[in-house]
Symmetry: C2
Subunit: 210 residues, 2 copies
DNA sequence: CAGAAAATGCAACCGAGTAACAAAAGATTC
DNA sequence: GAATCTTTTGTTACTCGGTTGCATTTTCTG
C-alpha cells in the first residue's frame, strides 16, 4: 500500500525535493526576499506554474523540512506508555530530542541549520507561515489531550501553553548557539530550561514572583 | 507635547481613519480577499501609494482597531496595585474586560464586531498578521514580568503562556456567540473559563489528567 | 508673501500567484 | 507494441499587492 513504485510518483517526489533543495540553497546564499520564485523555478528547471503546483506559497519551499514534524506533539501523547501522564511523555520526548540535537529544538549547530534559523527568525513572512503550522499542531495536540481524558477547554488551554512554551525553548536555544557557543557547551542549560518549563507547566506560575 | 493642533496633523488623522473605515466596510460587505486595495483607495479618494504610506500592508487596514490594544498585557502588569501579583492583576483585568464586553475578549455580540471576527478567523492572512501583533505583545509582557521580579527565562515562558491562553479564551467566546447565543447568555461560561484558565496558569496542569 | 518641508498623485514597475489551453509524458488496454 | 486515456507540464497572459521616481500640490515657517 505504500510501495508507489510508479515512475510517475518517483519523478514527482524527485521534482519536489529538487525544488525545495534548490530553493533553500538560494535562500541561504542570498536571503529569502532577495530570491524570486522565478529564479528558483529556473534553477530547478521547471516552470513557475509547476513550482506552485508543488508548493502553495514561496514560504513552503523553505519550510518543507519543518513541515514533516507536523503533529509531533499529538503523536507523542497518543503513543505514550500506558499509564504515563501526557505531560510527562511530552517532557521526556523533548529531552530526548535535545539529546538527539534535533533541529526542531533549536539545539543544532550544523552550519546550514544555524543559517536556516537565522533566516527564519529574520524573515517575517516565514515566521507567519510557521505560526500557521503551529496552529495546526496546537489543534492536534488539543484533540490528543482530550482523548487522554482532559476536559475540552482544559485540553485546548494546555495545548496552547505547551506549543507556546516549545517555541520559547527553541528560540532560546538558537539564541545561545547564535552567540557562538557549541551545542555541547549549552546542552546543559537547554535541559535545565526544559525542566523549568515543564515544571512551570505542571505546577504553575504561582510562587515564582508571578 | 500632545496637542498637535496643526491642520496637517488633523488631516492625516482623518485620512487614516477614513481609509480604515472605508476598507472595513468594504471588507465586511464582500470579504477581505474580494476587495482590492485599489478599490479601497478609490473609495477613500486617495491614490494607491498614499494608502500604503498610511498602512504598510492591506491587512493593517482591517486590523487598525485591534492594533491599539498593543501592549495591553504589559501595561496591566506595570500598572498593577503595589504588592499585587502580576498574574492576579492580569486575571482581574481579563474579568473586567469581559464585563465591559470588550471585543478583544471575544465576548461582544454587536453585529459588526461579530462579522468582523468571522472575517478574521476565516482569512488566513489576517490571522497571520494578528500573530505578529501577538508576538510583540508577548515580548512586551515578558519584559514587564521580568521587571516585576521574575527570572528571565521564566518571564518569557510565562508571557508566552498567558498570551496563548488569552487567544484560546477569546476564540472560545467568539465560538459561543457565533452559534447564536447572546453575550448575556454566555458571560457566565466565559468567566468560568477565564477562572479555569488562570487557575491552570497559576497552579499548573498536573492533576487534571495531564 | 516667499520659500522650505511635507504630503499627494501619477505612471511605470516588480514579484507572487493564478487561469487557459496546448503539448508532452506516463499509464492502460487490447 | 500501437492506440488511447490520464496526468503532468510549459507558455502566455493576467490580477493584485506593494514600491519607486518624479512632478505637483498643500501646509507650515519666517
Amino acid at each position: 500500500m505504500n510501495e508507489e513504485t510508479g515512475l510517475r510518483e518517483r519523478k514527482k517526489q524527485r521534482t519536489r525535493q529538487t525544488l525545495s533543495e534548490t530553493a533553500i540553497a538560494l535562500f541561504l546564499e542570498r536571503g529569502f526576499d532577495q530570491v524570486s520564485v522565478a529564479e528558483v523555478a529556473a534553477a530547478a528547471e521547471v516552470s513557475k506554474p509547476t513550482l506552485f503546483r508543488y508548493f502553495p506559497a514561496k514560504e513552503d519551499l523553505a519550510l518543507d523540512r519543518i513541515a514533516d514534524h507536523q503533529g509531533e506533539a499529538a503523536r507523542v501523547v497518543r503513543d505514550r506508555a500506558p499509564g504515563a501522564a501526557p505531560l510527562a511523555a511530552l517532557r521526556a520526548h523533548f529531552h530526548a530530542r535535545l539529546d538527539a540535537r534535533d533541529p526542531i529544538t533549536g539545539l543544532c549547530d550544523a552550519p546550514e541549520v544555524l543559517a536556516f534559523r537565522d533566516m527564519l527568525y529574520s524573515t517575517p513572512s516565514l515566521q507567519a507561515r510557521l505560526m500557521r503550522y503551529a496552529a495546526d499542531d496546537e489543534r492536534a495536540l488539543a484533540e490528543a489531550l482530550a482523548e487522554a481524558g482532559a476536559e475540552e477547554v482544559t485540553a485546548r488551554l494546555a495545548a496552547a501553553q505547551v506549543i507556546a512554551v516549545h517555541h520559547v525553548l527553541a528560540r532560546d536555544n538558537w539564541r545561545r548557539l547564535a552567540s557562538g557557543r557549541s551545542t555541547d557547551a549549552v546542552v546543559g542549560a537547554a535541559h535545565a530550561d526544559a525542566e523549568r518549563a515543564y515544571d512551570l507547566l505542571g505546577a504553575g506560575l504561582a510562587g515564582q514572583g508571578l
